[in-house]
């Protein structure tokens, strides 16, 4: 009998703790998904959001994990406008970001550095017009070998999802929730720059 009371109490406590965390973070947590307000995003990323390195790509990126080659294929089958040569995506090409208004211009946008519990995550996207043609991870979590193992598995999957979804509205990879969260937030902040 006492055991049942204790278990019921525990369940209630769990529900309270979890709903508090959900609720307290709710206002900011919604932001990166909604994709409209970068401000809420950077606050939510633990103050790291402002560390974004502008939009000049390819500079000083520590050992980027380049995922563009597998992505090119899936990007191509998207719609009927593979305007620019897809060979250019893979390199760390300085962007034509200065902005010729042309819809097919290739732009490279760097996302905010998002500090996760296991280290920073930073994502760079390549856009042709409004189409995501490449994603590259500039910084990934670095808390030991397990963390690297998790990233090695999760990041290609996240890249594929991004190219398929053409937005930051992608699912987290199971077992890599921190990596996924950091990835998604950084990706969203990069995409926010495209619309800004």
């Amino acid at each position: 009998m006492r055991l049942l009371i204790a278990l019921a109490g525990t369940a209630a406590g769990l529900a309270a703790l979890l709903s508090y965390k959900t609720h307290a973070a709710g206002t900011t947590a919604a932001a990166p998904m909604s994709g409209t307000q970068g401000g809420g995003m950077s606050a939510q990323a633990g103050g790291a959001g402002t560390a974004a390195s502008g939009s000049v790509a390819g500079s000083a990126s520590p050992a980027p994990r380049d995922s563009t080659p597998p992505a090119a294929g899936s990007g191509a089958r998207g719609s009927a406008s593979p305007a620019a040569g897809s060979g250019a995506q893979g390199s760390a090409s300085p962007a034509a970001q200065g902005g010729t208004g042309g819809s097919a211009a290739t732009r490279t946008l760097t996302g905010a550095v998002v500090n996760t519990q296991y280290g920073p995550m930073q994502v760079q996207v390549t856009l042709q017009g409004s189409k995501i043609t490449g994603v590259k991870v500039l910084q990934e979590t670095n808390a030991g070998s397990l963390s690297q193992q998790i990233d090695a598995n999760a990041i290609p999957q996240l890249n594929r999802e991004t190219l398929a979804a053409q937005s930051a509205r992608i699912d987290a990879v199971s077992g890599a929730s921190y990596t996924s969260q950091g990835y998604i937030q950084s990706l969203q902040s990069a995409l926010d720059k495209a619309t800004a």
């Binding site: 965390k21 519990q117 077992g175 929730s177």
Partner: protein, 439 residues
């Protein structure tokens, strides 16, 4: 003689345990930025239950580590009850942890429970080992459940319990390899391991090293066995420098008789006489396989004694004293009876069968010598025309009952009834000292 109430200490210990649990929750709280969606919530609940279970097993082992402050402040019987209740709770936490984590990961990954369980077992480090540990714990929990325990020999139950140590060891590594709260935080890993290491050291020190040191110093051995009734015996145990142990009347030792068939276990028995520098005496009821074998003990048999333990020790108090014994619960009270100041003590000795009354000559002699009074209350309730432990009956035997300090020892049912009656008769709870002798 001891001052200070075991009450407050028990609450202090519970407070410390609760504070530790809050600190463990703090680990999760500090490391969790937010919870979004069902998968996250389930995983979060799984992590919390896992952390609490990892903390809980340490608390459970610490309760049984024979720590002198706990044994004296809280009392071994209450520690055993906490351990049993806490054990059931922690096993539920372990089960909840496994289910919630699997479910949470499955929801996040959009897979089913079964494939996700497979993934967890195959590709997460040490999860397989931890699963074995969890199953062990659940098995031990089922075996220890009251109903099952009655059907099995105490010895079997006792030995099975040692597998919990194996389970705890098996489950340890997955906490650091997979636990989100530990992977990234060196301080968390440090304090968590420190907690495990300290408790393990305490167990080894108090359950293994101390008894052996006492054995070599005091050289406990059986002097002789005397029959007190058809099924009660007294065992006299000799040794040297026993006064150094500072055993007090009302306390007990855990005795391990180094004889064939007996050396594998230690059992708690109260001192039934005042301890002397070269001899101790216990009085044992011969029910059960183990205790009936004690009747065959030969003089000279070596004994490892752990102790003294027990919080049923006379308070330094000017109040009159009531000693209330049920059955073989007389043993610690017999020792206390001989130790209390003369003239202010009443002893009520309850046994349903008059033949179960033991040590009668000694009790009468103490009463005559020290001006105490003894009531032997025997017979069933029907024969007595009422419950002798009812408030009215007790008040009739003990005038001014409410002003007494009460020491109570007997089987659990009798103890519970007596406490209710004493409180109904106006004795404050803080003045009722009791120990239940069934462990």
């Amino acid at each position: 003689m001891r001052t200070g109430r075991p009450w407050a200490r028990a609450e202090l210990v519970l407070g410390v345990i609760a504070a530790g649990a809050v600190a463990v929750l703090g680990l999760w709280w500090a490391d969790t930025p937010r919870v979004s969606g069902l998968g996250d919530a389930l995983t979060g609940a799984g992590r919390i239950t896992g952390l609490l279970a990892g903390y809980g097993v340490v608390v459970l082992v610490a309760l049984m580590a024979r720590l002198p402050p706990l044994e004296r402040g809280v009392g071994s019987d209450r520690l055993a009850r906490w351990h049993a209740a806490g054990g059931r709770y922690v096993i539920c936490l372990v089960v909840a942890h496994a289910l919630l984590i699997t479910w949470g990961y499955a929801v996040t990954a959009h897979t089913g429970l079964v494939p996700e369980a497979g993934t967890l077992l195959r590709s997460y480090p040490d999860v397989l080992m931890a699963t074995v540990a969890g199953l062990l714990l659940v098995g031990i929990g089922i075996i220890s459940a009251r109903a099952a325990r009655r059907r099995m020999r105490y010895e079997t139950w006792y030995y099975l319990h040692f597998y919990t140590y194996l389970a705890i060891a098996l489950a340890f590594s997955h906490q650091f390899a997979d636990g989100a709260q530990f992977v990234a935080s060196l301080p968390a890993r440090f304090f968590w391991s420190a907690m495990y290491v300290v408790v393990a050291a305490l167990v080894v020190w108090y359950r293994v090293v101390t008894p052996l040191l006492q054995f070599t110093r005091h050289r406990f051995h059986v002097i002789g066995v005397r029959a007190e009734s058809a099924d009660v015996i007294s065992v006299y145990i000799g040794g040297r420098w026993l006064d150094e142990l500072r055993a007090q009347p009302g306390q007990f030792f855990r005795w391990r008789f180094l004889a064939r068939g007996l050396w594998g276990q230690s059992h708690p028995y109260s001192l039934s006489a005042l301890p002397s520098p070269d001899m101790l005496r216990i009085t044992v009821s011969l029910r059960g396989d183990y205790s009936s074998a004690l009747a065959t003990l030969r003089p000279g048999t070596k004994v490892i004694a752990e102790g003294p333990f027990g919080a049923l020790v006379p308070e330094r108090s000017r109040r009159r004293v009531l000693l209330l014994a049920g059955g073989v619960g007389i043993t610690p009270l017999r020792a206390i009876f001989a130790a209390l100041p003369p003239g202010r003590v009443t002893l009520i000795y309850r046994a349903s069968d008059p033949r179960d009354i033991v040590l009668r000559d000694e009790l009468d002699a103490i009463a005559a010598d020290r001006g105490g009074r003894v009531h032997y209350v025997t017979g069933t309730r029907e024969e007595l025309g009422g419950d002798p432990l009812s408030p009215q009956y007790l008040q009739a035997m003990v005038p001014d009952l409410r002003r007494h300090e009460v020491y109570l020892c007997g089987p659990p049912g009798m103890t519970a009834t007596a406490i209710e009656s004493l409180q109904a008769a106006g004795v404050p709870r803080g003045r009722i000292h009791h120990e239940s002798f069934e462990f």
